[in-house]
Symmetry: C2
Subunit: 279 residues, 2 copies
């Protein structure tokens, strides 16, 4: 794209004509460019289009090595809300997740609407810390989080919210193993399955996303819809063992988690300390 | 591909030289054909390559409109087994699932190994019945299920197993709403979160897949690995409501499910009755 074309787009953006700008941006692209090309071009130009769309929107961040179950538990519940759900990443390229399943994003940072009912951030065992270090990711999370009606996460997603400065002065939780990191980003650690503090709702590790998701359905659509969602998902859990928390798991199993991930925890701590210098 | 080439491939298959046949099939393709092209060509020729691969393998069926949470709960648990997990469909084209998330298969019916530790079938609200009616799907499920060490499902996946004739004379469960259909395929209905009968393990609706998945980890790798998996997933559920079963949900909510899906249930019944004529 020529410098003139780029200036044209930026001028349009300056006039607040966001939707028009998006269409003009598309006009600057090769003929026949599809939405992926538009998204990638906007991302390349580092354009924040600031699009407001009619209707109710949820943005769920997706990223490489994320824990897919963190996303799919809440996402399945959210379908009961009847809102448009955007799976958002820098580009529309396929995202390989931690368990080996690859998913497709449906929108990009550049084209994600700014008027959100819910912003949601999933966690990851090793993939969240690179997001804490990624300025482009933090800028997106901050820009949408500052306006979203609900700002939410499951598992180590709260570390990404925290690195974006969105949990300062809020009670929050995280995966049991990473909860001790929350004070670094000025959040108040709470040991609970999910924590609601004003419009921030954070869930504990992975499977908490189902409890968390049902609570959000209840908050946004009422008890009947929440009950219907729980019944359709036949959510009447019967864990075959009682090892879901460090207080109930055998000590040797807790020790194994520490042996495997203490170094990763230290790396997260370093990344969060660096991010907290920016706010 | 010419008729001669097709015969060459079939002759090789007749000699039981499955891996060689696969490579010959690839040789018949355009130069530079990738694995997707090989899979699609094999599928087009309706070749069942019968490949045995070294190592331990899990095949998880994926299909349009499947309930993704049915798959991702168990799949996340299965990663603890250290086996190769194949997400298998007719082709490698992206699969749109019920909740709106699109995933990528990793293997095809034609190239899926025949030596499986676990065959797994997820369910769907409206997408399972078309599978019950799909001869190509049932043939694949039957061929792998007859040899797999464990034959498993979650939710209405048991209807697909049943339509393939794999639950005849076995105790089984399904989503609470469809459990009454199990006798049509000569399975013995059991009202439980998951049911183990010899090498058949079937789960109830959607979220039962986590309980089911932990039980399979325990069965295949022992209690320590199951505990570690549960602790990593922080699986200590706290449902915010008690509406996960028709016996505990308010009657008006149960009535709503019937109003929405009784017609779909009838359609499933008709499809299962037709399938059961074939065995």
């Amino acid at each position: 794209m020529s410098e003139i074309k780029r200036r044209e787009v930026l001028e349009l953006l300056g006039k607040g004509a966001a939707a028009l700008a998006a269409s003009q941006l598309a006009g600057c692209l090769e003929p026949g460019a599809d939405s992926a090309a538009v998204s990638n071009k906007a991302s390349e130009l580092d354009l924040e289009l600031g699009i407001e769309l009619p209707g109710e929107h949820i943005a769920m961040l997706v990223y490489p090595e994320m824990t897919l179950l963190d996303l799919i538990g809440p996402q399945t519940c959210f379908t009961a809300l009847g809102m448009t759900i955007h799976l958002v990443w820098k580009t529309l390229e396929p995202i390989p997740t931690e368990s080996g399943v690859t998913i497709l994003p449906t929108n990009t940072f550049a084209l994600c609407p700014t008027n959100l009912e819910v912003l949601f951030i999933p966690g990851s065992t090793l993939g969240a810390t690179p997001m804490v270090r990624d300025e482009e990711v933090l800028r997106f999370v901050r820009s949408r989080g500052e306006r979203a009606k609900l700002v939410t996460s499951v598992c180590t997603g709260s570390l990404i919210l925290g690195a974006a400065g969105l949990l300062r002065g809020y009670k929050a939780t995280s995966h049991w193993f990473t909860r001790e990191l929350l004070p670094i980003v000025a959040a108040e650690r709470v040991d609970a399955r999910y924590v609601e503090d004003r419009n921030r709702i954070t869930g504990a590790g992975v499977t908490s996303g189902i409890d968390f998701g049902l609570r959000i359905v209840d908050r946004l659509r009422g008890r009947d819809t929440a009950h219907l969602t729980q019944l359709m998902l036949e959510y009447a859990p019967e864990p075959p063992f009682n090892a879901g928390e460090p207080t109930t798991a055998p000590q040797n199993v807790v020790d194994t988690v520490h042996a495997l991930f203490d170094l990763a925890l230290l790396d997260s701590r370093i990344a969060l300390e660096a991010a907290s210098q920016n706010f």
